[in-house]
Symmetry: C2
Subunit: 727 residues, 2 copies
């Protein structure tokens, strides 16, 4: 039986002192939010209020609660906490019973000796860890390089420095007639042909129990009574990711006698195999001296090569204690509805609560899970190696066995100059080793990107002056595991930051910088990109117009990159944009969803780009002049599990509001399942149409139809032309 506790909280400056005042604490929760609620601090999301929360990272925070065990009639009493952030000591009736560093540990504290007494629990949470190992400067994200808290909390280009502390997962008292906390362990192996699943059901009790195993249709297919049962399922329904089949889940139920009564547990399990295979055309090498081939990044699910389409998940809240199944579900449903099949759970953020993985299981969303390393050099001190080993094992406990779990990764961008780690880094050798020992059937990547895979860029016009449309069609990567195009947040999101009238004209100031409109990624206009917007559209007359124009570029960019990555299949096998969500309201960001859950227009374009079957055009650039040649290559993209019957695709071009001109009827033949088809390259000389500002490529192909809006005769673009005319 579970009993929640009523917690109080206070802070002090040293480990041994006691808080002067205490106030109510929410569990799960964060000390900063509890303090803010108690003392009326303004919303950290508004303007620069978050700075008023900063001091809290350096305090000791003392949680306390009482449990009256005087009338406890069951023989076993335990305190269970599923995650405390980050370094802490637990005292029971003033005696220190447990100390730990790490936020992913499930603590199970035996309190039997206190039965018949009043139990006082005290949890002292230590200040935020700040490394000084190999540090170039203080107050930077490098301070995270000796701990397993999320690096993003220390400040990122979409996240302020605001570092949560507290009991971030469920915590409660358990009374029981069983000597041990119940831990069911369900595992399976699939045979080579995947037509037999061998199940193992285990639970840590000594007596008879009741097991039931139910198929996805609700039919009971196994019942047993031993704490350890094994059985086989012939022709099991496999778990498939979104777009490739149903995410079939079986249900296990366990009933354990518990004194006069009994307790029931249940969970889901999906059968799948996953591997990373070599991408097409990567084995061949140039002439001698020969080096190695690029590593494999084609994800095979149940033996079928998947084109992985998805996004980087960076956490929908700064205070991750606030994440609930409902909060996860509203965003994961959007992931699924965008025809995505994978999330890269980026190493700068937390490893999510288990409900996240339950929902991904249910929705058919593959999870690439990184360990909490990102962009820093995690020096292999004795303390860090011990800590990482411990946290990695706790993370594996949390994630492993979920049907959705497809890839382990050591962390983000560790093999680049700004991190400085290499294949020789002991932290990464440790993670390879632990994951190999515990989950050998899940692939492990040391980091992202690896050779052949690409990260970036994150702008519509790159630092070298080239447009994303131009760069991407000349790229040749095996996977695009990060790429971004920034856009302003929607107005409903922006007004969480400040009064909208403060945002136009859009200029750099404390608020717009703090919320990543300026100086977010290096110095300059990241992420607002207002000069880029102006270079395409001229001066904007209102915030709404500026926002719309920026969001138009994001739509164009994301649609193009997702489709281009798919056009490069099978050499390319993955497209994962940076990023899906954001943890607080940003002025502008690469995200597709703005805080807390507002959909940017690019979302719908990505959803189209990720349809299993899509007719697409690879055009050369975004803007054209009258009488210029519009050139584009046609592709019919098929990630579908079925072949496509022959079809007709009508290709039209429309300038301004003129009638669309049919320029071709493309006769597409029968196409194999999971195979693209390259069509012709079309050229069309754009007519002179006065007052037109756009031209459209329209591919009429039923459900696979596409429409691309390009810019026509925009004043900024044709201005330089005048010179030539005057000559």
């Amino acid at each position: 039986m579970k009993t929640s506790l009523v917690w109080n909280l206070g802070y002090c400056d040293t480990e041994s002192s006691m808080p002067k005042e205490t106030f109510a604490a929410k569990v799960p929760g964060s000390v900063q939010l509890d303090y803010a609620a108690a003392y009326g601090l303004p919303d950290y999301r508004f303007e620069t209020n978050f700075e008023q929360y900063r001091w809290m990272e350096d305090k000791y925070w003392v949680y306390s609660a009482e449990y009256d065990a005087r009338n406890t009639d069951l023989p076993y009493l335990r305190f269970i906490a599923k995650g405390i952030d980050y370094k802490y000591d637990i005292y029971v009736n003033e005696t220190k019973k447990f100390s730990h560093e790490g936020m992913y540990r499930t603590v199970i504290l035996d309190l039997n000796e206190y039965i018949g007494k009043i139990v006082t629990l005290k949890i002292v949470v230590h200040p935020v860890p700040k490394s000084n190992v190999g540090l170039p400067s203080p107050n930077t994200r490098d301070e995270q390089n000796q701990c397993c808290k999320p690096a993003v909390s220390y400040g990122w280009d979409f996240h302020p420095r605001l570092i949560p502390l507290g009991i971030w997962e469920e915590a409660y008292i358990e009374t029981s007639s069983l000597p041990e906390h119940i831990k069911p362990n369900i595992s399976y192996t699939l045979n080579t042909k995947r037509d037999v699943a061998a199940l193992s059901l285990r639970v840590n009790v000594d007596e008879n129990v009741k097991w039931r195993f139910v198929d996805p249709d609700g039919k009971v297919i196994f019942e047993g009574v031993s704490p350890s049962e094994n059985f086989e399922i012939a022709s099991p329904l496999l778990w498939w990711c979104n777009g490739y089949g149903a995410p079939n889940l079986y249900t296990w139920e366990l009933t354990v006698p518990c004194g006069d009564t009994e307790e029931t547990f249940s969970g889901k399990i999906g059968f799948k195999t996953v591997s990373l295979e070599m991408n097409a055309n990567t084995w061949s090498l140039p002439d001698f001296p020969k080096s190695r081939s690029c590593p494999p990044i084609t994800l095979c699910l149940n033996g079928i090569p998947i084109f992985a389409k998805g996004s980087n998940w960076v956490c929908p809240e700064i205070f991750y204690s606030e994440l609930t199944p409902q909060r996860y579900r509203e965003q994961l449903q959007l992931v699924k509805d965008a025809n995505m099949n994978i999330l890269r759970c980026w190493g700068g953020a937390i490893v999510n609560k288990e409900s996240f993985f339950d929902l991904c299981d249910e929705m058919g969303i593959l999870v690439w899970q990184e360990f909490p390393l990102a962009c820093n050099n995690y020096h292999a001190t004795e303390h860090y190696m011990e800590l990482l080993k411990c946290e990695a094992n706790d993370i594996i406990d949390r994630v492993a066995g979920h049907a959705c779990h497809a890839i382990w990764c050591g962390g983000n961008e560790l093999f680049n100059s700004w991190s400085g780690m290499t294949d020789q880094s002991l932290a990464l050798r440790l993670l390879n080793s632990i994951t190999f020992e515990r989950t050998p059937n899940i692939p492990f990547l040391a980091t992202s990107p690896l050779m052949g895979m690409g990260h970036g860029s994150y702008l519509f016009v790159y630092h070298n002056g080239k447009e994303v449309v131009e760069v991407m069609q000349h790229s040749n990567n095996t996977a695009y595991t990060e790429f971004g195009v920034p856009a302003f947040s929607n107005l409903d999101c922006l007004q969480q930051i400040t009064d909208l009238k403060n945002l136009f004209p859009m200029v750099a100031n404390d608020v717009t910088c703090a919320h990543h409109g300026f100086d977010a990624w290096g110095k300059g206009q990241t992420w607002c990109s207002k000069d880029t917007i102006q270079s395409y559209f001229g001066e904007s007359n209102s915030l709404e117009q500026l926002v719309n124009r920026g969001q138009f570029l994001q739509k164009v960019g994301y649609r193009f990159i997702f489709e281009e990555a798919r056009r490069q299949k099978p050499h390319c096998s993955m497209a994962i944009n940076w990023c899906f969500n954001e943890p607080w309201p940003c002025i502008a960001n690469n995200s597709v969803i703005c805080y807390p859950n507002s959909i940017k227009p690019s979302y719908y374009e990505i959803a189209k780009a990720c349809r299993p079957v899509a007719a697409t055009a690879r055009y050369r650039k975004l803007r054209y002049r009258a009488e210029e040649m519009l050139e584009f290559d046609l592709f019919l993209l098929n990630d579908g599990v079925s072949p496509l019957d022959p079809m007709e695709i009508v290709v039209l071009v429309q300038v301004g509001n003129e009638d669309p001109v049919r320029i071709m009827t493309w006769e597409v033949p029968y196409i194999e399942a999971n195979t693209n088809f390259s069509g012709p390259t079309l050229r069309y000389c754009l007519p002179v149409i006065s007052n037109a500002e756009t031209c459209k490529i329209i591919l009429a192909a039923g459900d696979a139809s596409s429409e691309y809006t390009l810019l026509y005769n925009c004043p900024q673009h044709i201005a330089p032309k005048k010179k030539t005319l005057n000559m």
Copy 2:
């Protein structure tokens, strides 16, 4: 006390049958050699005699020996075997006591129950393992893909198919008053500054012992009596590789009381740290999308970046049982005298006997040790994974702790199409994991080459028609871990193969093919390259002339590549040619030493190229016409640990027997230690000299002097010119 046994040997067709006849066996030895000695088989090295040995790979071989323990007066009796090749059962008085697969296990068999009796030992060695997992065809090296025998034994481009079996390491009876075989365990850690070594001396006995620890000058610096001692050495003399300092070794001595007497053990230990650091200019990446940087391959010894110069060691004998400290020493002395500092112990061959590592410790030769995987795809069957784990641990026991040991590597060319393994291959994840657990301070490479590192080519004129001199100066690798230039063996080696008169004219036949003159690497003239030789020199008139001409090309090629790799320092940090030695007499091969120990002329050129300080010229190609411009870049290469004082280098060119012409005096300034200096590019129009066949570049620079002999007006080369003249 050790007692050798007298062994008999016989063979049979099944595991349960008994040999019909037996004959004397040598231990250490190989069954093939014993059989050949007993039945007068001709030398396997002559012509195609090795084919007469082939049938033996499919037999069960039964060793037997007797030990009279009736008068044994010590309480403990053991059988010890330091390596049996490959799968075997050990019977004592007809009872099976031990079964094992793997050649690197030290077997310690308790025979106490037989004291007072006559002990009959029988060792049944199983036939050669032949995999059928994922096999394209039988009788190829792929048959090795489920075992840990050396792949080379199954046939390679310098090795016939001839697969040893037998007790290949020392085996003996031990009587003792101590219950366990003595296993001293000496380890140390160096602090970060490397100025304190913390020693741990351990031995598996319960009583007091005598320890002595002696510094490299012979001075006793520690004495102790406990089976477990710890002490520190301040300012220890570090172990350095050849060319960078003395290979300082300390000596430990252990005296253990053993009944009325005592036994003494001793060994050497050297203090060093080793790491792989990023090569110069490898962190920077091209434009977005950004991938990863090439992995690190600059070997740092005691914090100092080393230019690793060395060779691939492929084993000096087909029957590796025959390797003795003396046999190792004669070749390792040559390695050292060639100014080399590293050997890559290639994964196709055995892991050497421990005396090899003792000698490398003593001579300052770094060892890159591969696990026994090469070019195949080692599928992760349950059997193979168990076996590999077992053998890997036994190999680590053999190698770890040796001062010379610098790098672990998973095996040879596993990430190339002809193998098909990847970073995801479980066999390699296992090896990374085991080496991390047991020897975290020794770098691990999954395979060679990795990205940025180069293998090949292996010809003077590449398959694409380009000369090695041209290709290498345009290569840009971080390390060259294999590169070869073939040459005929010396005449004294060739006459071990057949009567020399059979070798001229050199044509493909059973003998010249079997000994790798033809069809060794694909079809054609590997390794004799007679058409290439003819294209430079015209028809040869004798075997001696043909051999000399081929060896000339090898001299030129190897000298150029070693120097060129050094010129590319610091981006390049390693040059390891393919290969040093050969296991039997080859007609031609990339080796520098021919069987058994005959030095090819290229050896002396490599020794010059590897001098710590060398003046070198990067010329464009080997052959020139009269009136053609001879162009070359000057470099002073300094791998030395000291800076170089300013010096004058006189540059001369000599055509034929004319007097050398001084074309420049290069004033070289002060140069930092361990740093190259780039000089000018010189151009000299070659004069017309009748009857001259060579021109020389001479760099007169004292000990750093160099001389390059190039070809001048060779008839084959100038022939096409005539066309132009006739126009």
